[in-house]
């Protein structure tokens, strides 16, 4: 049923591809607000998967709690919709038990960076081969617009009604420092790049983070007078700079900019592979001992 990269004849309609990967039955309509950026990420993720042509039985999707984390409910894979912030340790259990499976985590900025912050840095540190798509809408969507660790200083949320007094995290810098071996940032206004970066992350052997800047116009947009979904996408476009361009810019010039693209990639050893080496070593030892 799945297509491969070589299968290029008669290009399929984008919607046909999406439908192939959605679950049959009563899971739709989805819970997202019309125009929410999460749907754009789901579309790009589906097309990236489709291009890789993976066996559907070899993909497990894991998520925490939040609007973003609802995504696996709609998609026809092995799926775990877990507890707030805990998607990564659940995914670690799946991947470590079944290194042959492709494990993908869908999470939000609150989910991954607040309650799940510790799990996030340790998954990066282990460099376990999990692909994490962190949908960053700068706010808690599901609970109605409270501040998150990614809410920029000064911005409004229902729990920072006079402007956020805290500094915000940059998940990409955090992941790189903690040891992730593939770190990229994309945005829902630049879909082809989003798709490409997700595909790269899926194919990468090690921990990959794709942070996706996505609009929550319902809360973040409204509370900060950023307009509707379209206005927010336009803003993202204006604020974005490429990694190459950003390298030539001063910190002052980068203030308020969104740097998009591949931010960090290396070839560190991967956790499951390293553990397997121990298993093999012990097997060999037992063999020579004759027991």
């Amino acid at each position: 049923m799945t297509t491969t990269e070589t299968d290029k004849k008669a290009p399929k309609q984008r919607s046909d591809i999406a439908l192939q990967y959605l679950r049959p039955g009563k899971k739709l309509p989805h819970v997202w607000c019309p125009g929410c950026g999460i749907g754009v990420v789901m579309g790009a993720y589906i097309r990236a998967l489709d291009k890789l042509g993976w066996d559907r039985d070899a993909v497990a999707m894991v998520s925490g709690i939040g609007c973003s984390s609802r995504m696996p409910v709609y998609m026809d894979f092995h799926s775990l919709h877990t507890a707030h912030g805990r998607a990564l340790p659940f995914a670690t259990g799946v991947k470590f038990n079944r290194p042959d499976m492709n494990v993908v985590v869908i999470t939000g900025d609150g989910d991954a960076l607040a309650i799940g912050g510790n799990h996030f840095i340790h998954a990066c540190r282990r460099n376990i081969n999990i692909t994490t798509i962190l949908i960053n809408n700068s706010i808690y969507g599901m609970t109605g617009g409270q501040g998150s660790p990614a809410t920029p200083s000064g911005d409004k949320s229902t729990t920072t009604p006079y402007g956020n007094s805290e500094k915000h995290f940059d998940p990409c810098t955090l992941a790189t420092a903690a040891g992730a071996s593939y770190v990229a940032r994309a945005s829902v206004h630049a879909v082809p790049q989003l798709e490409k970066l997700i595909k790269g992350g899926l194919a990468h052997d090690g921990f990959s983070l794709i942070e996706v800047i996505a609009n929550c116009h319902t809360y973040y947009g409204r509370l900060n007078r950023l307009g509707d979904a379209v206005a927010m996408l336009r803003r993202y476009k204006e604020q974005s700079v490429t990694v190459a361009k950003a390298r030539k810019m001063s910190p002052e010039e980068l203030e308020g900019k969104i740097v998009l693209g591949m931010l960090h990639q290396d070839e560190k050893t991967e956790f499951c592979n390293e553990y397997q080496k121990v298993v093999e070593l012990l097997k060999k030892k037992r063999g020579t001992n004759g027991n």
């Binding site: 497990a60 340790p89 659940f90 670690t92």
Partner: protein, 380 residues
């Protein structure tokens, strides 16, 4: 094979717990070190890679249970070891495991509390936590060994119950057993029954991950076996997808309850000594039961009609069985290393005309046979 040829080992219960787990087929362990349970993690770390199994030290106890659930859902037989404060942290995701009905085993080596309490001292104060630790309505299974040897068999039983009922099972150890060394026999392959979760036989498209079956337990495939099912901690319908529909909510919760309460007979295990003519009966579990056995044999030596019941199954509480067993005695003494947790259950279960006495110790020390005898004298 004769008894003499069996593998014998000098072990502490933390080690025999791991031996039991390996015997039961454990192939995945995730945990976070905490006294007095650390040896459970350490021995698992040594043994699992030798058999191609997996050991991972997670960043905390919540992460540990998360990893266990991920591994269990994808087909592994899983266990963790912890103690009071760690067990408290685990409760969030133990609740998740009840909800999604994933088998997992938690060995909780109890220590004094609350909070970090007494890391190296004995206690049985997590008895109620094993029943009511997480939020919401659910039914729990907890077993309690009292020797190094029966820690092995109770661990095997815990795995069997977890797999049989698709649910978390707690082994309530106490520090004294955990660290006492005894020579035990390791059972041979095939000697103890091993139960594994039932796999679905239907077509993948017909599979419902939370289906209402006759015995309340839904077959459970591993990942990669063609059944792409969804698990969620949200209240879900038979297919495992979130629901807010009252007509689907109650049946799900009743399923969680009934699959255990309807099979209490199968889960309950008690040891009963000298009960036939007993006028007074000790009820206890864990290390206290050893003192009770000794006290009974000393008291019987001087002609006192006393017996004892040891609870190997704490939850579900053996209501019927205790009512039956205590029908002839006049008085019971409940001995516990806490301020009185199981005594509430005993009071709930036994008729009002029964005299129920409590013997409690919560200073980090064990209850001795002499203390039980003193109490016996007092109530006689």
């Amino acid at each position: 094979m004769s008894v003499a040829q069996k593998k014998k080992l000098l072990l502490q219960a933390n080690d025999s717990c791991v031996e039991g787990a390996l015997y039961a087929g454990m192939n995945f362990f995730a945990g976070y070190p905490i006294t007095p349970s650390t040896e459970i993690a350490e021995l698992s770390a040594r043994e699992l890679p030798k058999i191609g199994g997996k050991f991972i030290q997670m960043e905390d106890e919540i992460a540990s249970v998360a990893a266990l659930i991920g591994a269990s859902a994808s087909g592994a037989k899983v266990m963790t070891g912890t103690s009071g404060p760690g067990y408290s942290l685990m409760q969030e995701l133990i609740g998740y495991a009840y909800m999604v009905e994933v088998p997992l085993v938690i060995a909780n080596v109890q220590r004094g509390g609350p909070s970090t309490g007494l890391p190296t001292k004995v206690s049985q104060a997590d008895t109620m936590q094993a029943r009511w630790g997480t939020h919401g309505d659910y039914n729990a299974i907890a077993v309690a060994p009292s020797t190094v040897g029966d820690t092995l068999t109770e661990t095997v039983r815990a795995f069997n119950l977890a797999e049989r009922f698709r649910t978390p099972v707690t082994i309530l150890l106490d520090e004294v057993i955990a660290h006492s060394r005894e020579i035990i026999e390791i059972p041979e392959e095939g000697e103890l029954e091993i139960i594994n979760r039932v796999k679905p036989t239907c077509k993948p498209e017909d599979y419902k991950s939370s289906e209402f079956t006759e015995n309340g337990v839904t077959p459970m495939p591993a990942y990669g076996e063609g059944y792409r099912y969804h698990l969620t901690g949200l209240t879900h319908d038979e297919r495992g997808f979130p629901t807010n529909n009252p007509s689907e909510i109650s049946p799900k919760l009743e399923k969680l309850r009934d699959k255990i309460l309807n099979y209490t007979d199968e889960i309950v295990k008690l040891r009963v000594e000298m009960l036939d003519d007993a006028e007074v009966v000790f009820i206890s579990y864990g290390s206290v039961s050893r003192a009770a056995l000794q006290a009974v044999s000393l008291a019987r030596g001087v002609g006192v009609k006393v017996g004892c019941i040891q609870l190997y199954t704490i939850w579900p509480f053996p209501d019927e069985q205790l009512r039956d067993l205590c029908s002839k005695c006049k008085k019971v003494i409940v001995g516990e290393l806490n301020m009185g947790q199981i005594i509430h259950e005993v009071r709930r279960v036994l008729p009002n005309d029964k005299e129920i006495h409590s013997l409690q110790r919560y200073d980090g020390e064990i209850l001795t046979p002499m203390q039980l005898l003193e109490k016996l004298e007092e109530v006689l």
